[in-house]
C-alpha cells in the first residue's frame, strides 16, 4: 500500500454499497485516489464532509471499521521507454513478473488537445486487407471501432491490422477480455517478434469489472507520452468497449443516477468521447490512432453503446460471413471510414474513389438481384452478371484473408468491371474509364 508519512487514517465508514462506500473526511479533493482496506478507490462525490468512494475491486468484505487512506492525487501512471514490452493490470502494476516501471509520474485522463493545435490526419495506414484499404481506408490519428457480434473473429482481424500497420508502439487495452484472448494476443505478438513495441493494460474476465474503467485512460496516458515526447506513431487497441460501458452502468446505478436509454448513464456519450477523442495527429509527427471493438448483441446497432460510439468515432467496420464464398468479409455496405477521403486519390491512385464507389454500387445491385431470386422472380441478364461480379468481388477483395497492395486492389476492381459489365453500366467518370478500363 502506498501511503505517505503523517497520513491520516480513517477507520469509520458510514455507508457501504456493492461498489461504493461513504465516510466523513476532510481536505479531500475531487477524483483523488484512496485505499480502502488496501483496495484502490477513487473519490466520486463530495458533499460537505461526506466523501463517496468508488472501490474498484468491489466492497465485498469491507467492514465499517476498515482503514481508509487518501493519496491526495488522482490516478497516475509512471511513463517512459520502460513501458515497452510490458504487461500491466488496470492500475499499471506489472502482471508479467517483471519489476515496477520507473518513470515520470503522469495523471491519467488528462486535458484535451486544443482543436486548433491538431493537424489534419493525412497519413494512410496500409493493412493489406482490401475491405479496409480499398473501401474504408484508415488514417493515422483516426478512431474507429469494429462493430461485431461476439462470435466474429474481430480480435484476429484487429491483431492482423496492428501487426501490419507499422506503428512504432502498440498499446493494447483489455477490458473484460477473456484470458484465452489475452494469451492469444500475447503469443501472436511474441511470435511476430513485436513484443518490444507492445504495452498492455489488461483487465480480464477474472478481474473485477469496475477496474475496467481505468484501462482506457491508462492506455491513452501511455500513448500520449510516446506520441508527444517521442513523436512516435502509436496505435491503441481497445477491446471491448461494450464491457467498459457496462462497468459505467454498474457504477452509475450504484450512485442512484437515473438511467437513460438501455440502462446506460446519461453521460455515456461524453464518457466515450473523452476516450476516443484522444486519437490525434500532432503537428510534429506523433499520432495516436485508436482501433476499438464494440461487441453487439445480435447485430443490434441501435443499442445505446454502438449508437453513441457511432456518433463519436470516425466510422466503423463490420465483419460478416459471406456464405457464397464461405469466408468472413468486411461488409462494404455498413462499414465506413470517415477520414478516407483525406487519403484516397491523394495518397493513392486517382481512380481510388471511383473504383470503390462503383464496386459498392454494383455489389448493391447484386444484393437486389439476390432478393429477387429469393422471392422467386426471374432474373434479368444484368442481374445474373451482377451476381457473378459480387461473388468474385467478395472473394478477391472483401475477404479478410486478402493481403495485397492498393494498386493491385484497384487493378483487380477494373478487371472485374470489364469481366461482367459494359462501360455504360459501370458509369464512372469517362476520363477514368478511358484510362484504366481493362478490355
Amino acid at each position: 500500500m502506498q501511503t505517505r508519512a503523517f497520513q491520516k487514517i480513517y477507520t469509520r465508514i458510514d455507508n457501504i454499497t456493492k461498489a461504493t462506500c461513504t465516510l466523513r473526511a476532510e481536505g479531500v479533493t475531487n477524483e483523488e485516489m484512496a485505499y480502502v482496506d488496501g483496495r484502490p478507490a477513487q473519490v466520486v462525490k463530495i458533499s460537505g464532509d461526506q466523501v463517496t468512494l468508488q472501490v474498484f475491486p468491489g466492497t465485498a468484505g469491507i467492514a465499517s471499521d476498515s482503514e481508509v487512506v487518501f493519496t491526495g492525487a488522482p490516478p497516475t501512471l509512471k511513463v517512459g521507454e520502460a513501458l515497452k514490452g510490458r504487461f500491466f493490470d488496470a492500475y499499471g502494476r506489472p502482471i508479467d513478473g517483471g519489476p515496477e516501471v520507473d518513470g515520470e509520474v503522469r495523471e491519467i485522463g488528462g486535458p484535451s488537445v486544443n482543436p486548433v493545435r491538431r493537424k489534419q490526419p493525412s497519413e494512410l495506414i496500409a493493412t493489406g486487407i482490401a475491405g479496409i484499404d480499398l473501401n474504408n481506408t484508415l488514417v493515422t490519428g483516426q478512431k474507429i471501432p469494429f462493430f461485431a457480434d461476439a462470435d466474429q473473429p474481430y480480435n484476429q482481424v484487429m491483431a492482423t491490422v496492428a501487426l501490419r500497420a507499422q506503428a512504432d508502439v502498440i498499446v493494447l487495452g483489455g477490458m473484460g477480455m477473456s484470458n484465452d484472448d489475452y494469451l492469444y494476443y500475447r503469443n501472436l505478438f511474441e511470435n511476430a517478434g513485436a513484443t518490444d513495441r507492445i504495452v498492455s493494460f489488461m483487465n480480464t474476465t477474472e478481474n473485477p469489472p469496475v477496474e475496467r474503467l481505468l484501462v482506457p485512460d491508462m492506455c491513452l496516458a501511455a500513448a500520449e507520452w510516446f506520441a508527444v515526447e517521442r513523436k512516435q506513431k502509436v496505435l491503441v487497441l481497445l477491446s471491448d468497449m461494450t464491457l467498459y460501458a457496462d462497468a459505467l452502468a454498474i457504477v452509475s446505478n450504484r450512485m442512484d443516477q437515473i438511467p437513460s436509454k438501455d440502462s446506460m448513464p446519461g453521460s455515456l456519450y461524453s464518457d466515450l468521447a473523452k476516450i476516443y477523442e484522444k486519437a490525434v495527429q500532432f503537428p510534429d509527427g506523433g499520432s495516436i490512432t485508436i482501433i476499438a471493438v464494440t461487441t453487439l448483441s445480435g447485430g443490434d446497432i441501435t443499442h445505446a453503446v454502438p449508437d453513441n460510439t457511432g456518433y463519436i468515432t470516425e466510422g466503423q467496420l463490420y465483419l460478416r460471413r459471406d456464405t457464397d464464398i464461405a469466408k468472413v468479409i468486411v461488409d462494404p455496405f455498413r462499414s465506413l471510414s470517415r477520414l478516407k477521403q483525406l487519403v484516397t486519390g491523394k495518397k493513392t491512385r486517382e481512380d481510388h474513389a471511383a473504383v470503390m464507389n462503383t464496386a459498392i454500387r454494383l455489389y448493391a445491385d447484386a444484393a437486389n438481384a439476390k432478393t429477387k431470386l429469393e422471392n422467386g422472380f426471374e432474373l434479368t441478364d444484368y442481374d445474373r452478371r451482377a451476381l457473378g461480379f459480387a461473388k468474385d468481388y467478395s472473394a478477391a477483395l472483401l475477404a479478410i484473408d486478402v493481403n495485397i497492395g492498393i494498386e493491385k486492389m484497384l487493378d483487380t476492381g477494373w478487371e472485374l468491371f470489364a469481366k461482367y459489365f459494359t462501360k455504360d453500366e459501370v458509369g464512372a467518370k469517362r476520363e477514368l474509364m478511358d484510362k484504366y478500363w481493362k478490355a
Binding site: 493545435r117 437515473i258 455504360d424
Partner: protein
C-alpha cells in the same frame, strides 16, 4: 460588494456553493483552485446554497475552495475583430491559447481591444438614437462592420459628441450619448451581451420570403430554405450530416457563416481549420475563412460549455444581423446540447421527462429556433439569420425527444435516410420524407416566379409527384416481380431514378458537382422534366432498365462538366439523340 462563497459539495461538474450574499439564476462565478480560476454558471439556488455547473474539469477541487460571483450572466464581448476566429463555447480565442493541450482556467480575449480600426462616423452630434442604431462603421476584413449603440441602452438618447473619421482602438471612446434625464454614457466600439437573451432593437420580423441559395440541389430545388428560415437535419450516424453541413458552409449564399461545432468530433473542426483558409468562396473569390467564425466545443471539451456554445453562436449571429447582414448559422449537433442538459438535470436529481431528458426540452429548443429570422431594421435595411441544426437521433429513430421537439420548431426538415446512405446515394436526404414549409408560402412562390422562372414551384411539386410515383412503382415491382406489373411501372420507377441520380445525388467531393448555381439547377430540372414527360416506347421491361442506365450515365457526365462547355453539350446532344430513339410516335 460582490457575493462570495465556498465550495460545499462536488459531483462531477456540478458543484454546490455556500454563499454569503445574493445570487442570481444563471449568474457566472469563478471557483479558485490553487492559481486557477474555474468558470461556472449558477443553475439553481436553494436558500444560501447555489448549484453551479463548472465549465471545466473539477478534478482536485475540494470543499472550502473560495468562490467569487460576478454579478452578470454568461455574456459575450461584441466588437470588430471577431471575423475568421476560432472560439471555444465561451468565446475564448483558441488560437491565442498557449500549448498543445487545453489548460484549465485559461481564458483568452475574443479580440484585441487595442487594435486600431479606421472608423467612419454615420451619426452626428444631435442625432436621436436608440439601442442598435448605427453610429459609425469600420472595415473588418471585407465586412462593413457597423458600430452600434449598445443593445442594452434604454429609451432614446441624443448623441452629444462623436469622434471624426480616423484610426481608433476598439476600446477608445468614440461617442457620448446623453439621455432625457441628462445621464451621459461613453461608448466604445465594443459591448457585452448575455448570450441567453435575444438581441432585439429591430423594427419588425416579417415572414421569410426570399430563398437562400445553398448550391445543394436536393435543398435548393426540392425543399428550399428561406433566407431567415430554419431547418434541421436529423440522421443516423454515417449518413453524411456533417458532409452536408460543410457543403452548406462552403457554398451557401450568405454574407457570414457561423459554424457551431457542438459536442462533435475534433477532426471535423480541424477539417474546417485546414480547408477553409485555402478554399475560395465561389461568390466573392475571397477565402472561405474570411466569412466564417467557428465556435467549437468538441465532444471531449467540458460538457457544460456545450450548451453555452450554441447560444454564443446565436448571439454572434444576431450581432451581425443588426448590421444588415445575411448570416447562416449552422449547429452540429443540437442533440449533444440536449444531452448536456440531460446530464445536468440528472445530476440535479430533477424528475426526468421522456428518455431522461429534462421536461422543458421542447420549450428550450423552440425558444432557440425562434431567435433566427429575417428582420427589418429601423433604418430601412434588413438582415437575417438562417439557422440549420443537425440532430443525431439515438438509434436513428426519429421518434425520440430531441427530433420531435425540433420538428415542432423548424420549418424545413431534411431527413437523412440510412437506406440511401447504404447505397451511397449522397446527399442521403430522403426526397419523400423531407419537406420545406416555405414552398407553401405565397411570398416564396412569387419570389421563385420572379427570380427563377414562372411556375417554378409547380415544377418542383411535379417532380415530387414523379418521385413518389416511382417509389410506389418500385414497391409494386418488388412485391409482384418484374413481369407481374405493367410496363408503365418500370418506366415510372426509372423516371424517378433519373431525377434521383441527376438532380438529387450530388458529389460533394467533385470540384464541379459540389455546388450548382440556381440557373444551372433550373436548366437541369427543365431537361430532366422534359425527359420524364416524353412518351417512350419499349418492347418489354428488359429494355427499360438498360436504356435508362445509359441515359442516367449521360446526365451524370453533364453534371461533372462545367456548365455549357463542349463536353457538356456533347453529352446533352447524345442524350437528346438517345431520347429520340425511344420516342413513341
Amino acid at each position: 460588494m460582490a457575493t462570495t462563497g465556498k465550495v460545499a459539495g462536488i459531483v462531477s461538474n456540478l458543484v454546490t456553493v455556500e454563499v454569503d450574499g445574493p445570487v442570481g439564476q444563471n449568474e457566472i462565478c469563478y471557483i479558485l483552485l490553487g492559481g486557477e480560476k474555474l468558470m461556472a454558471e449558477t443553475i439553481k439556488v436553494t436558500g444560501n446554497r447555489a448549484s453551479v455547473q463548472v465549465f471545466e474539469s473539477t478534478r482536485g477541487l475540494s470543499v472550502g475552495c473560495p468562490v467569487e460571483f460576478t454579478g452578470h450572466m454568461l455574456e459575450v464581448t461584441l466588437g470588430p475583430g471577431m471575423l475568421s476566429r476560432n472560439y471555444d463555447g465561451l468565446q475564448n480565442d483558441l488560437d491565442a491559447m498557449t500549448g498543445v493541450f487545453l489548460k484549465r482556467g485559461e481564458y483568452t480575449a475574443p479580440f484585441d481591444p487595442k487594435r486600431k480600426w479606421a472608423f467612419k462616423p454615420l451619426a452626428k452630434a444631435g442625432d436621436k438614437v436608440r439601442a442598435a442604431d448605427w453610429l459609425g462603421s469600420v472595415q473588418e476584413g471585407w465586412i462593413d462592420h457597423k458600430i452600434m449603440v449598445p443593445f442594452d441602452y434604454e429609451g432614446e438618447g441624443t448623441v452629444e459628441s462623436i469622434v471624426p473619421a480616423g484610426e481608433y482602438a476598439a476600446e477608445d471612446e468614440i461617442a457620448v450619448v446623453v439621455d432625457a434625464s441628462g445621464a451621459k454614457r461613453s461608448l466604445t466600439m465594443t459591448m457585452k451581451w448575455p448570450v441567453k437573451r435575444e438581441i432585439r432593437g429591430y423594427k419588425s420580423k416579417p415572414r421569410p420570403f426570399k430563398a437562400m441559395e445553398t448550391g445543394v440541389r436536393t435543398i435548393d430545388t426540392l425543399n428550399p430554405i428561406a433566407e431567415g428560415g430554419t431547418g434541421f437535419i436529423p440522421g443516423p450516424f454515417g449518413c453524411g450530416k456533417t458532409v452536408l453541413q460543410h457543403a452548406l458552409a462552403k457554398n451557401a449564399g450568405a454574407d457570414l457563416i457561423i459554424m457551431v461545432a457542438c459536442g462533435e468530433r475534433a477532426n471535423e473542426v480541424v477539417e474546417i481549420f485546414t480547408e477553409f483558409p485555402e478554399l475560395d468562396d465561389p461568390r466573392t473569390g475571397r477565402k472561405l475563412m474570411e466569412r466564417t467564425i467557428i465556435v467549437c466545443n468538441t465532444s471531449n471539451m467540458p460538457v457544460a460549455s456545450r450548451e453555452a456554445s450554441v447560444y454564443t453562436g446565436m448571439t454572434l449571429a444576431e450581432y451581425y444581423r443588426m448590421m444588415g447582414l445575411k448570416v447562416l448559422l449552422l449547429a452540429d449537433s443540437t442533440s449533444r446540447w440536449a444531452q448536456a442538459l440531460r446530464e445536468m438535470s440528472n445530476r440535479m436529481e430533477e424528475l426526468p421527462g421522456p428518455d431522461a431528458f429534462p421536461m422543458d426540452l421542447s420549450a428550450v429548443v423552440a425558444g432557440f429556433y425562434a431567435r433566427a429570422g429575417y428582420v427589418e431594421l429601423r433604418n430601412g435595411q434588413s438582415g437575417s439569420i438562417t439557422f440549420i441544426g443537425t440532430v443525431s437521433p439515438a438509434g436513428g429513430n426519429l421518434k425520440e425527444p430531441v427530433t420531435e421537439s425540433t420538428q415542432k420548431a423548424a420549418r424545413c426538415f431534411y431527413a437523412l435516410s440510412q437506406a440511401r446512405a447504404d447505397s451511397k446515394r449522397y446527399p442521403a436526404v430522403d426526397p419523400i420524407d423531407s419537406y420545406s414549409k416555405y414552398l407553401e408560402y405565397p411570398e416564396v412562390v412569387e419570389y421563385f416566379d420572379r427570380n427563377v422562372e414562372p411556375g417554378w414551384v409547380g415544377k418542383v411539386l411535379e417532380m415530387k409527384d414523379l418521385l413518389l410515383r416511382g417509389k410506389e412503382a418500385k414497391d409494386q415491382i418488388n412485391i409482384l416481380g418484374d413481369d407481374g406489373v405493367p410496363l408503365e411501372y418500370h418506366v415510372n420507377a426509372n423516371k424517378a431514378e433519373v431525377i434521383d441520380f441527376c438532380i438529387l445525388q450530388q458529389d460533394a467531393f467533385d470540384e464541379i458537382d459540389a455546388s450548382t448555381p440556381m440557373d444551372r439547377q433550373r436548366y437541369m430540372v427543365d431537361l430532366v422534366l422534359g425527359i420524364c414527360s416524353e412518351k417512350l416506347a419499349f418492347d418489354g421491361f428488359e429494355e427499360v432498365g438498360g436504356w435508362f442506365k445509359k441515359l442516367i450515365n449521360l446526365v451524370r457526365q453533364m453534371n461533372y462538366q462545367p456548365f455549357g462547355n463542349d463536353k457538356f453539350k456533347e453529352a446533352e446532344a447524345e442524350l437528346r439523340a438517345l431520347v429520340a430513339e425511344r420516342r413513341a410516335d
